[in-house]
Amino acid sequence: MISIKNLHASIGEKEILRGINLEVKAGEVHAIMGPNGSGKSTLSSVLAGREDYDVTEGEVTFNGKNLLDLSPEDRAREGLFLAFQYPVEIPGVSNINFLRTALNEIRAYHGQEEMPAKDFLALVKDKSKLVELDSKLASRSVNEGFSGGEKKRNEIFQMAMLNPKLAILDETDSGLDIDALRIVASGVNKLKSKDNATILITHYQRLLDYIVPDFVHILYKGRIVKSGGKELALELEAKGYDEIKKEFEIAD
């Protein structure tokens, strides 16, 4: 599905990603873990096409296309979805209107007709149940005045609506209490299929109790320093990041 080869990226003068290699196939769940500042969020931003970062080396293939050549909106239309760590508030723009625009833009990209309003509303009703999102939130402005938990649930709701091929969940567990975490995780699990893939970016092992990954990668100072199965996350939890830091200390 996505193949990342020797990806280097920097912001200004500072290199943050220093050669990432990652291969994700349909049906898989990958977790990327790492201490603060290891480049986790940079990776998700670069994949989604945020302009603040310069890709200096490497390539990314997504469904056979060169991802790095695509505009952010075309990446989204190709099926790449980023659940933001800090979802943005857009005053005055209702969630519904926002989603309908997005959905129809994606459909148009694939040469499909606009979704009839009736079907769309049915879909909204159906998918909002998935994350136990109050239907009132759907008619409110995008993320405006939402609590932290509501914002994250809204991200998963949008993911359900847009049905992406690859979902990147950037610290979706941060700031969630245990109930919200359970709701978000169950939503993600229900959306999982043999045709799509998920990348979980997280600091803590906690989320992985609910969404069980097939692979765990440890990111440190812009490189994947260790990969393994789900047991790697448990090991990391037990030892802490300090162990990793010692083991893989690289000069800046």
């Binding site: 505009s71 952010p72 909106e73 857009i90 005055g92 997005a102 990209y109």
Partner: protein, 483 residues
Amino acid sequence: MANEILEEHIQNEYKWGFTTDIAADEAPKGLNEDIIRFISAKKNEPEWMLEFRLKAFRNWLNMVEPQWAHVHYQKPNFQDIIYYSAPKPKKELASLDEVDPELLKTFEKLGISIDEQKRLTGVQSNIAVDIVFDSVSVKTTFKETLAEKGIIFCSFSEAVQEHPELVKKYMGMAVPPTDNFYAALNSAVFTDGSFCYIPKGVRSPMELSTYFRINASGTGQFERTLIIADEDSYVSYLEGCTAPQRDENQLHAAVVEIITHKNAEVKYSTVQNWYPGDKEGKGGIFNFVTKRGICLEDNSKISWTQVETGSAVTWKYPSVILKGNNSVGEFYSVAVTNNYQQADTGTKMIHIGKNTRSTIISKGISAGFSNNSYRGLVQIKKGASNARNFSQCDSLLMGDKCGAHTFPYIEIKDKSAVVEHEATTSKIGEDQLFYCKQRGIDNEKAIGLIVNGYCKEVLNKLPMEFAVEAQKLLAISLEGSVG
């Protein structure tokens, strides 16, 4: 990329820029007492009307054009304007079939139907329309339906003939002929406009609407609207305007007056889309308009909502004089300027009665090389106890070649007043744009979405049909403004 968008914008710009090939009956260029007598005679006006005009004209001669607005333009040559232009033939229209087919085509292009049947049976809601073409009202629809309720909705000229007592009593009450330079000019030379009277206890069963169009070249448009809402009545009034694309600047100096009696309410909505000039700033309408309402008696309410996307230069301050106790004034405005457009617009809320309330929400959007100013006055007179005002003026800048300005004047002479004013200036957030793009929405659409969201408080105040038109207009006006 930016160039492509710009190209597309140029292709797209000003859809309403066609002219209509209709022979017009015109006055010679220039302005003097003879021209005014000519206009008055053409319209077969009574002596008192001519006197009103001449008095205004003599006043105007001693007045100077206002200089304080934050706009710069070549002053119009008032002797180079045709003050009267009527589509020929000018005979009384008995039915729709008699309207010049060219004219009907024009209105079709504008998307306005003057075919009542179609409106009655069609899906669109009922709106009665008075259409002012250049200077003359050509057709008022739904007159009979309204007459059953006692509502008078007709052209201003007709009102002068048929309802002189009402015109005499109310004309100039909100906007005296000496009020300002352009109001005086209008009072002297106005050629037509709309007149509306809602009798006691009547809620208008449909929205009333005036559609203005300037067509002939070298003309100015000077129409006058007078709306009177008698006790316990209600009406929602819509105004739309377009003009053909021309290299010259054309002058539009209108006057709108609203008078509300006890417990009456008038909601006046405008979507102003006069030709703004081309992308070099050539041509376009000078829109110098005086709009004012008086809440004459207790518990009455006047609400102005405007979406301003057109005109080369706009100078316009729809205002409310809150004379009756507990009366309410509202002003909701979206003003968009692009290319070389200039807008200086806002409102005046004059609190005289007790417990009067006013709300001002103004959203300015500047793009291209344009300048967009909010100018407003909130005045709490002595004795206007417990008066309240809340003002919110936000500006959005798109690009670094444009300007956004806020000039509020607040004068308070009563200690029980509470007046709050807030203003912010910002640009569209990069993070908001990125969020939209990540969901598959492209730049132009994302800007449209965010801008419409930013203006929502105002757009929500428009009647449904107008809101849709306004949203589209916003998107078109801003196309290509952010590359």
